[in-house]
């Protein structure tokens, strides 16, 4: 049947950087970042491990690509009728959203310096919003850096946030944690005993992320109010 011309190489058997990155992202979403190995990914793509090295110089470079592709999903539209605070909240909220959709790969963004098109555009939009909040370029840079950092780390590493519908096992773990905390000597650890429930409770992810964003935005706003 039809031969693959150079054009339809993208949709059939042949490999492109795009398909590799998409495969890596899918694999990471499905089985975690540690499942993204050159050999495994190659098998998934029906290809030899070394084939990937034609398109990427190293695994690290491939992961850079994955990180960049995540950035591209962020919704950069801003509601011009909203205040800068609301705009910033929307932008960061969108970031949290796409990071949560790829939570395993999220830590990639906190580790590496992405300089893709999408990353540049996101940074541009963010800086613009913050600048309109009354900060200098230098301050805006610092704030943007920390905001980006906060958002990626927010998603990357919460221990209690491991949520599974299968509530059996994990509820057990939580109950054990709670019992442990409650069994601590109250005269030595009054606050831990008192907070045993919230500490051991599985956190509602939505609430967790909302709180994290609130905290960050409160800090930024308070800085905006303080100076000027």
């Amino acid at each position: 049947m039809a031969r693959n011309s150079r054009q339809d190489a993208t949709n059939k058997g042949t490999l492109t950087p795009r398909t590799v990155i998409e495969g890596a992202l899918a694999l990471s979403d499905a089985e975690g970042l540690q499942a993204v190995t050159i050999r495994r990914l190659a098998r998934e793509l029906g290809v030899t491990p070394m084939a990937l090295y034609w398109h990427f110089g190293s695994k690290d470079e491939l992961l850079d690509g994955v990180a960049a592709s995540i950035f591209e999903e962020v919704d950069l539209s801003v509601d011009a009728s909203a205040s800068w605070r609301e705009q910033l909240r929307a932008l960061l909220g969108s970031m949290v959203g796409v990071l949560r959709a790829h939570s395993s790969a999220a830590i990639l963004l906190s580790t590496r310096t992405v300089s893709s098109e999408g990353s540049l555009r996101a940074t541009e939009v963010m800086l613009d919003i913050i600048r309109r909040g009354g900060f200098s370029p230098t301050e805006a840079t610092q704030i943007a850096r920390h905001a980006l950092h906060t958002v990626t780390n927010l998603v990357g590493g919460e221990p209690g946030v491991v949520v599974r519908e299968e509530s059996g096992k994990l509820t057990d773990a939580r109950q054990r944690a709670r019992r442990f905390l409650e069994s601590l000597p109250p005269e030595r650890y009054p606050r831990l005993v008192e907070a045993a429930a919230p500490l051991s409770e599985g956190v509602d992810p939505d609430a967790y992320f909302a709180f994290g964003l609130d905290l960050l935005l409160a800090g930024i706003e308070s800085m905006a109010a303080r100076q000027r």
Copy 2:
């Protein structure tokens, strides 16, 4: 000469969890976390790789130990005459300090849930301070979680913070980054062009961490003021 009784086993040839953890931490400080491999660590300790598995069930368990040992270095004393804000700043500042002293191993704390003695005591002190700021146990738990998270991630992953006295190479990279940013189309990326200098500049670590702490504390204080 003298035999090793069970007592002096700690100071001479034999292995203990302590010595292993100390070795791992030293290795991580000296050559980075990726140098901490079972084989390498064993060689460093003058022992066979599998010897470590007598004291730790897995490498992960060993790293848990390293994380716990870092927690133990945090200064938990509180100045009773200070306000809760100042106390919180001091505590978090101390955390940042010890994390910076082990910056390679710092990301361990953001990944895993530590439940060592030291971690419990630190959490207790932190919760106590925050509770005295007028927050409920549940709120205090959320805040403490985020504060801990912020602090560890602050140290863990800043890209620009890679500072070396050998300024040759890195200055080159910075200059290239700066030129790149400045060469962007100003009508498309006005904020990036405008902030080319601060964006490409190597960040002063002290200023960076101070700013991160300020931002976090500002957020917490503003939350404290808002409610009540």
